[in-house]
Symmetry: C2
Subunit: 108 residues, 2 copies
């Protein structure tokens, strides 16, 4: 497993929140957060096609939220948890917790 593209740092906060505010991308990040490890791309979305998903992965990657890793010759996605926590402590966890909360039907 080796990193294919790892940006040196994470983006500035508006770009990160901009990456996270899309429902498809938020769900990708929520699943990655709950998995706690790299996840096969196709396990991270259902409601969009492959090329749309690639576009969303790119936005997350350019914001520094995720990175691509090679697993058995395939590209998987992984959260850049350490880099994010270093830049903005607690933010990613709060967003993932909120995303899990947002799916909880007992909340409203």
């Amino acid at each position: 497993m080796s990193d294919a593209t790892t940006p040196p740092g994470v983006a500035e906060l508006p770009a990160i929140l901009g990456a996270l505010q899309d429902p498809v991308r938020l769900e990708m990040v929520r699943r990655l957060g709950n998995a706690g490890t790299a996840v096969r791309c196709t396990d991270l979305y259902e409601t969009v096609g492959k090329s749309t998903a690639s576009h969303h992965f790119k936005i997350l990657r350019e914001a520094g939220v995720t990175e691509r890793v090679m697993v058995d010759g395939n590209i998987w996605q992984r959260l850049r948890t350490e880099a994010m926590d270093e830049a903005f402590p607690g933010l990613l966890t709060a967003v993932i917790d909120a995303a899990n909360q947002d799916l909880d039907p007992t909340r409203k």
Copy 2:
């Protein structure tokens, strides 16, 4: 001091993150968070005009992040900290902390 418009709940997470991802709105929320109380509208922005600021305040309000309060006959803005914390514990604090961090020149 009485609430002029208080939506019953906060919006869903993508709408909240969408409200927060704009740099002007993020700065408004950061200042409100640091103030810890209602703040006069004109103390919450500098880089935009009054009508643009009103538009931004509306988006924050419609997401349930802020509310308007009347102070001496003027409209001030206030974070809906309790409602936000009830819906998404820790999220608003994490975003405000991150916004303060994002301004820290020693970070990068």
